[in-house]
Structure formats: structure tokens, C-alpha cells
Symmetry: C2
Subunit: 357 residues, 2 copies
């Protein structure tokens, strides 16, 4: 076994005859000696790792498709692992990928603030590219969207329709160091006026997407001169469809309920739709809704739902292209790439109806 490992791995002494035997056996078992030989020459394994935060979220499945397609075009295999939004599992996943000697890693950081395990990756020379979120303290490329602007567009659409009581459905742990995706925005943090929930000003440069989207919600209100009722912008306490449903249910029971809602991602959006159904409310007559992510289900509800479309596949593909450029020796300074989003206006948004105004 040690001999076969030396022959296939290309280290230590193996007699030419033995090496021939091992390679023949490898062929019989389906290995391709050319792959092995090429990766020896190039000092790469022609494999990359992708650490997604939650594989059940379609965002990561669609991004993985983009990563895989580009990687394959360049002869690389991709291994996906899953951090379940837990820092310890992210550390373990990164360690496991390094042990497997992948040539680079694409990662949606679940941790915030200090990330020595990710700085180590960069310092060890293994290329690292962030997707969806980034960590300002780790010098690596990142592929994101402008979450603040995207949310501002979504909420601005509702404000322009005439809505003045717009609920935010977001799990946005906005604190100074609990923040990830760079935002360049010099505005005052509009949330100062919100006493409960999304109340702290985040670090301008690093912020989780949900917090950035909450920021955009507040900025849109500020730009329109519309005050935010703090009872409509409380944090959803857990990241789950059920918690979103409960929060929407609470807001619908207010004496002056919202006439529109903005859900910060597809999980929050699903919970919101369930709450509206249970309350017997009809979109857009009774209430309007905008959510994030153009998933299949948003087009088959009654009515179809107005969404912010992220170019998820393209984000994965671009992350793979950046990573492979680094693997091939690109040493330019780390760049932040922001891909454009689109507001798709469908049937779930309209002027406040007679029943809601």
C-alpha cells in the first residue's frame, strides 16, 4: 500500500517495474494515470472545495452549480461541504479540505469578526474566495451583491406604490462586530430612530446580508421621509420559516397592521407567505409582499410574488473563475466583485387596497 501511494503520489523511491504495475492496477480500477501525472507536474490536485453555509437553502445549491460548471471546464473537481451556519463546523470543513490538499476554497463565511482559521488559509498560500458574504479582516476576493441597495430598491418600490406601513421580516443580528459583507455607505445609520431590533449602526465595511438588507429597508424609508414604526421592524429571533411566520402573525394582529411586507430572503419569504395564507389575506388586495431570491415557487403562488433576483448561478461561476485565476498564479490585490440584481415586479405588489388603507 505504501509502495502504491509512492508510485501514484510521485514521492520516495519506486522501481520503474513496480511503478508500471501500480499504474496498470490504477487503470484497471478506473484511475486515470494521466490525471495523476498532470497533477504531479503542476503541483496541484485539480480539486477545489466549496463550503456552503446551508445546503438546504437553494442559494447554495444554485451557486454550487455555477462553481461546478466553471471548474469542470477547467478540469477541476469540486467538493462541497456544509457548515450549517456554525463556526465550529466551518473550521472542521476547512481543515478537512486542506487535509485533502484542495487547490483552493470558495466559502460563505458563517463566522464573524476574528477568523484565524481563514487567515491561516490565506497565509498558507491556498487561494480563498468568499461568496455571498465576506470578512473584511481576511484578504481574499469576494463575490457579493450590494445588499443595501437591493433592499432599498425593494422597499422603495413599496413606498412608491403608496405604502406607509411596511413590515421588515429579517433575522438580522445587527451589532458592531456581527457583520460580514462589505457595505460602502456614508449615510447615517437610519435605524437610530428604531428603539427595538435593528437599532445599532453596523460597521460600514462588514455586515451580514440580512443586516445589510435591514439597513436598506431603513435607508429607503429615510429617503422617502417616512418614519419607521419599530413594531414593524423587530428582529425575527431565529433563522427559520416558522419563526418568520410567527413574527408576521404578531404584526398582523397589531391594531394598525402593515399594508406591505419586505422579506429579507427566501426562508423569511416562505414563512411570510404561510402567515398570510393562515390569516386569509389576499395579495395584493389586502397586503403587498416583496421577497428576496427568484426561486421557482415565487412564480407559482397566487399571485406570483415580486422578488429581488440575485444572479446566484453567476455568483458561483464568478467565484470559481476568480479562484482558478488565483490557483494559476494571479497575485493581484484581492477584489470585491458585486454582481447586479433585478427587481421583478409581479402580482403580489400594488397600491394599498381599500381593505388595507
Amino acid at each position: 500500500m505504501a509502495t502504491a501511494a509512492r508510485a501514484l503520489g510521485g514521492y520516495g523511491y519506486v522501481s520503474p517495474a513496480t511503478r508500471e504495475q501500480v499504474l496498470a492496477a490504477a487503470v484497471r480500477l478506473g484511475y486515470q494515470p494521466n490525471d495523476v501525472a498532470r497533477s504531479m507536474r503542476a503541483k496541484t490536485t485539480r480539486t477545489i472545495g466549496f463550503v456552503g453555509a446551508d445546503i438546504v437553502n437553494p442559494f447554495f445549491a444554485n451557486a454550487m452549480r455555477g462553481v461546478s460548471d466553471v471548474a469542470r471546464q477547467h478540469g477541476f473537481d469540486v467538493f462541497l461541504t456544509n457548515s450549517d451556519e456554525r463556526l465550529d463546523l466551518e473550521q472542521q470543513a476547512v481543515r478537512a479540505l486542506l487535509v485533502k490538499q484542495v487547490d483552493g476554497i470558495i466559502l460563505a463565511p458563517t463566522g464573524v469578526g476574528d477568523a484565524p482559521h481563514l487567515r491561516s488559509v490565506v497565509e498558507s498560500g491556498t487561494p480563498l474566495v468568499f461568496i455571498d458574504r465576506a470578512l473584511a479582516d481576511v484578504p481574499a476576493d469576494s463575490i457579493c451583491i450590494d445588499n443595501v441597495a437591493a433592499a432599498e430598491t425593494a422597499v422603495g418600490h413599496l413606498l412608491a406604490l403608496g405604502h406607509r406601513r411596511i413590515a421588515l421580516v429579517a433575522e438580522s443580528p445587527v451589532t458592531g462586530d456581527d457583520a460580514r459583507c462589505p457595505v460602502t455607505d456614508d449615510d447615517e445609520w437610519a435605524a437610530r430612530s428604531v428603539p427595538d431590533g435593528v437599532s445599532e449602526r453596523p460597521d460600514d465595511r462588514v455586515i451580514v446580508p440580512s443586516a445589510a438588507r435591514a439597513h436598506g429597508y431603513l435607508r429607503a424609508h429615510r429617503a422617502a421621509g417616512v418614519p419607521v414604526d419599530s413594531r414593524l421592524a423587530r428582529r425575527v429571533p431565529r433563522y427559520s420559516q416558522e419563526a418568520a411566520r410567527d413574527e408576521v402573525r404578531r404584526m398582523l394582529a397589531l391594531p394598525d397592521p402593515p399594508t406591505a411586507l419586505f422579506a429579507s430572503d427566501n426562508i423569511m419569504g416562505l414563512g411570510t407567505v404561510v402567515a398570510l395564507r393562515e390569516a386569509g389575506l389576499t395579495m395584493p388586495d389586502d397586503i403587498s409582499l416583496v421577497t428576496f431570491d427568484d426561486l421557482d415557487w415565487t412564480a407559482i403562488t397566487t399571485p406570483p410574488i415580486t422578488v429581488i433576483r440575485q444572479p446566484v448561478y453567476d455568483m458561483g461561476a464568478e467565484a470559481a473563475r476568480r479562484l482558478l485565476a488565483r490557483v494559476n498564479g494571479d497575485t493581484s490585490p484581492p477584489a470585491r466583485v458585486e454582481l447586479p440584481v433585478r427587481l421583478l415586479v409581479r402580482g403580489s405588489t400594488a397600491r394599498p387596497g381599500p381593505r388595507s388603507s
Copy 2:
């Protein structure tokens, strides 16, 4: 680099002082020498591979969650790769996982018939467990459901409600050797009476899920003494939501359209719902629908959709348990495990309405 590899990998000569230095550096970089040492002792890498057929299909994402949870409980990392339902990519994924020396592989076979690359895996001593589908010629455990019985239950529900014109929406390439998941069923292949589409009798023991579900559709009709109109049971020519939509659209345009539909999985189901919406049909007044897979979206359509619920998470968890038992030396004969499904009756199914009868 070669020295570090020897020290961490545990082969060849490394002086004790050098080995100490390498391990110290590994700790600094976030490696855990205990993991390395343990895997050396146990001759395992404490990693397993999962080859899913299509990562964008929520089936595989949910199964991956089950696989990961069980693997983690036992200290194993999981690497997911994706075959995109292509045999060449499956072969490549398996090869890449073997090069990475995973301790075992869970795989949803996309190829059919002869699978020398998978027989090689088994012969080389690397444990292999099939999920969702199996190959009769490869002696490995498989975790499936009884697809024939599940479809028979779904279609039986529609027949019991009084429907006599039930459409099948399935991409079911039913041919003698184009078949995967074992079915133990001694019935005659009811499709003999169907001239176009699902017309051939599959091998009793190996069959793709969609073909098995088409079989169940036909068996339910046979059991009820209801003839099948071949125009309602043609094969959807491509595996895509759009192709399913087009096929349903064609059937709705018939002089005697169906009063109910059975969609063989969640992709076919999505396309079916889109076609019904576009035709302006209301469920269940105009038409009834049963589909496969209890995905979130099936509960938020208007009305919610009657589905066959597969225990997808449990299938992944059970696959991981079987695989780890094999890794730990279980040499009992390969077993086929069939997990139970449930029919969840929701608002999309009812007696044929006045507008459809």
C-alpha cells in the same frame, strides 16, 4: 514539502525532531494532529463522499443534510459532488473521491446497466451505498422507497375520488436495461396496452424511480379496471420543468382533457402547476393534482397540493449509517432498505367537479 507530507501522512522516514516541527506548524495552521494520528491508527481518513445526481433538486440537498448529520455524530466529514445525471461526470466524481481516499461513497447512480466503475469500487474494498436508486449488478446496500407502491397509492387516491381520465406527467425512459431501482413485483407490466410512451416492461429488479412510478400509475388503473388512454401517459421528452409544462399543456388541449394529473416528482410537479395556472384552471374544481415530494412550495400554492412524502432526510441518514457500519467492518450481505412513504391529502384533490366531469 515532501518531509511534511511524510510526517503528517505517517509513511517513510522523518526524524522525531522534524516530525515535532511539522506537527507544531500543522497546529498553528489549524490542523489537528490528533485527527491525523487517529486516522493513521485506524487506517481511515474519516471522510466519506456523496455523489448526488442533481444538486439543484431539493431531494439531494435534503438527503445530504441527513448524511452529514449522521456522519458528524461519528466524526466523519462529508464531501458532496454532483453528477448532473451524466455518467461521465459520475465516473469522474467517483475517481476524484477515490484519489482523495474517502472511506466510503454514497451514490445515486445516474448510469444504468453496466457500471464497471462502481463494481471496481466494491471490488477494491471501498464501501458503497446506493441512495434513491440502485444497480442490481453491483453488490451494494441501497436505501430507496417502494416507488411502484407509492405511485399506486397516489393514483389510487385519484381513482377512488372518481377520476377516470388521469394524466401521467413523468420522464420515464422505460426500457429493458435503462432501469435502476429494484422492484419486486410479479404483476404483468400493465403498460402493454399503452402503445406510445411507457410501453415496455422493465426488468423487475432494476428500474429508475420515474419508470417505477409510471408502472405504479398503470398498476393502479389495472387494479381499478380503468383503461389508460395512451394520450394521457406519454413520456415527457426531457427532464425539465418546461418540458413538463409543455406536455401538460398538450394534454389540456385534447378534446377530452384529463380531470386529474399525477406528477412523478417535484420538477414535473412544478411544470404541471405552471401549465394549470397558464390555462386558468383552478384546483380542485377544474382539475385535481397529486405530485411527489413534500417540498415547502407544495404547501403554499392555492390550494396546497396533495403529495407523496418521501422521508428524504431519513434516507440520507440511513445511507450514512449503513456506510459507516461497512467502514467499521460489517460484512453482512448487501441489503435493500425501503423506507415508508405517506400520502398527504391536501386541497388539490377532490371528486371530479361539474366543470371537469
